[in-house]
Amino acid sequence: MVDEVVDVLIVGAGAAGAAMAWSLSDTRMKIVCLEQGGWMNPAEYPSTQSDWELRQFGDFGLSPNGRGRPEDYPINDSGSPIAISNFNAVGGSTILYAAHFPRFHPADFKVRTLDGVADDWPIDYARLEPYYEQNAQMMGVAGLAGDPAYPHKELPLPPVSLGKLGHTLAGGFNKLGWHWWPSDSAIATVPHNGRAQCINLGPCLTGCAQGAKGSTDVTYWPAAVRQGVELRTHCRVREITVDEKDMADGVIYYDADGVERRQSAEIVIVCCNGVGTPRLLLNSRSRAFPDGIANRSGLVGRNLMFHPYAMVQGVFDERLEGFKGPMGCCIVSQEFYETDPARGFLRGYSYEITRGIGPVGTALSGMSSGEIPWGAGHHEAYEARFDRSAGMVAICEDLPEPHNRVTLDPELVDSNAIPAPRIEYRLSENSRKMLEHCMARGQEVLQAAGAHSTTAQGPLPFAGWHLMGTARMGTDPAASVVNEWGRAHDVRNLFIVDGSIFVTAAAVNPTNTIQALALYVADSIKERLANLFD
């Protein structure tokens, strides 16, 4: 294979890489994207089979360490109470995500100014607003205008069905006078851009066989490929290389056969998520960058943020039809989103009402909790819970702390012998207090909705879904890794676009903001093409 120099090389075909590739494709530049996973086949997703509930414990599991897929790389997360969740494929983690699609709020971009913690972003809500709108069209976002927790926003598709479960819980929020609203969801509730509409299958978190969920393999990628972007699958990048002027000049990667290749490029864009991106940067050592490329600040890998999650569940007398409808998208409450110092913590959290679980999930969760015994009394206990459980997760805002970080594991490597990432993370006191608050208030609202018994758990040990902050954005090269439009301070043709560049985490799912940032950075590149490297 001849090493042709391409104009733009994107590493990673997930949420950010897809949006980036599509937006840049109208320049007619030669764009190549390298993705370590392959295309998914929706006909093989678990919801097409009778064992659909069990495969979340197998090849569609959340953790790459237990999934057994060859495209995964191991992650040493034994030093964190929250395990990493991701997926490696065209579409990245959007294959498994719930498609819960909220925006950040205006206040989320200025937490230092408003609350005296963390840092303000170098951009604001108004800057990203047009890109949120553009992204809503491309991803197909369903929702209802008028949410009083946000500035006015219009969404292109009608909201997801709340169902009996959603209506029941909405009644609880109304009894307490708390905020709630139908979730913004990247789900085609009506046919959209060639995608079939949602038919309420339920298990969105193991891929959408209907193609209604907005994973980027069915949204941005088909459009980007039509416009000439070359997407090479099963290609795992080992390192970014630099020339004598300290500019990125390409990458070294392994192809599907494990053969080492080189791809040269004028511009390199890294879109590998909040763990994969610092891993690649730290693995890219050279004379100019002995501690990893773009890491003169020493901040690559630091300030890792999750969203600490709690789960609150209640059992009701009536059946709720909770297994019908998008698993993670129903209604949201942001009653406790904004800071109230009287609560004993800064910043806040969102509640996301989740759907109920299926027959097998009910049995296994009841077995592990001891609520559904084996032997005598089994059927009575099972029927008292099946389709009668409802609840929510609380998604808490994490704050950036330098000791929470991604480094390279000294021993663990992937199948190409590339050093694997290691996670060091401690839950902050602020997060602990927030979790206590949301678990207590969550049980109150479930009781108000009619639950006769409630339980709460937090932090959820498996819920490292959102990976942020490890190559933060800022105007000061000593205090950030990329500038206010995503370019590495240290390398003028290297861009980073994913959750890594988040300054703070907000208390909402990050994918919409990751993609809005990608579209914004892409536009910033296009506007500066004549003098991009100055």
Partner: protein, 154 residues
Amino acid sequence: MSQAANDSGFSEAQERALACVLDEIIPPSEDGRFPGAGELGLVSYVRKQALDLVPMIAQGLTSLDELALARGAADFATLPRSERRGVLEELAAREAGFLPLLLFHTFSGYYQQPPVLEALGLEARPPFPEGHEIEPNDHSLLDPVRARGPVYRF
């Protein structure tokens, strides 16, 4: 166990014993709506799911027979039903992996079976391609939320 294992990895006696164990884990319901896990034929499901662990299960079944023998029965399958749970618990205290393994596969296999799903009032099919109908949204429930006005900071 003196009998030779067949193609399933279990002897016929072991298959009978395993069916009895599965019926102890999920017995038939008193109202007759739900069958027991053993009579539902979950032995082959468990064997398929735990293929690598068949020798361990077989060893556990042998131990159950030995415990039944000590109580005066010929084997576990002929032990009075009132005594089977006690024997299973005795074995669980001695061999930690046997019972949890069978509980997991019995619980997960049982609730995939068409007769069980139908008894729960469900259609016995995977979610795709039919999906599910859901009642229409009642957005009038949002009136009190709207009436509060904005709840965010600029």
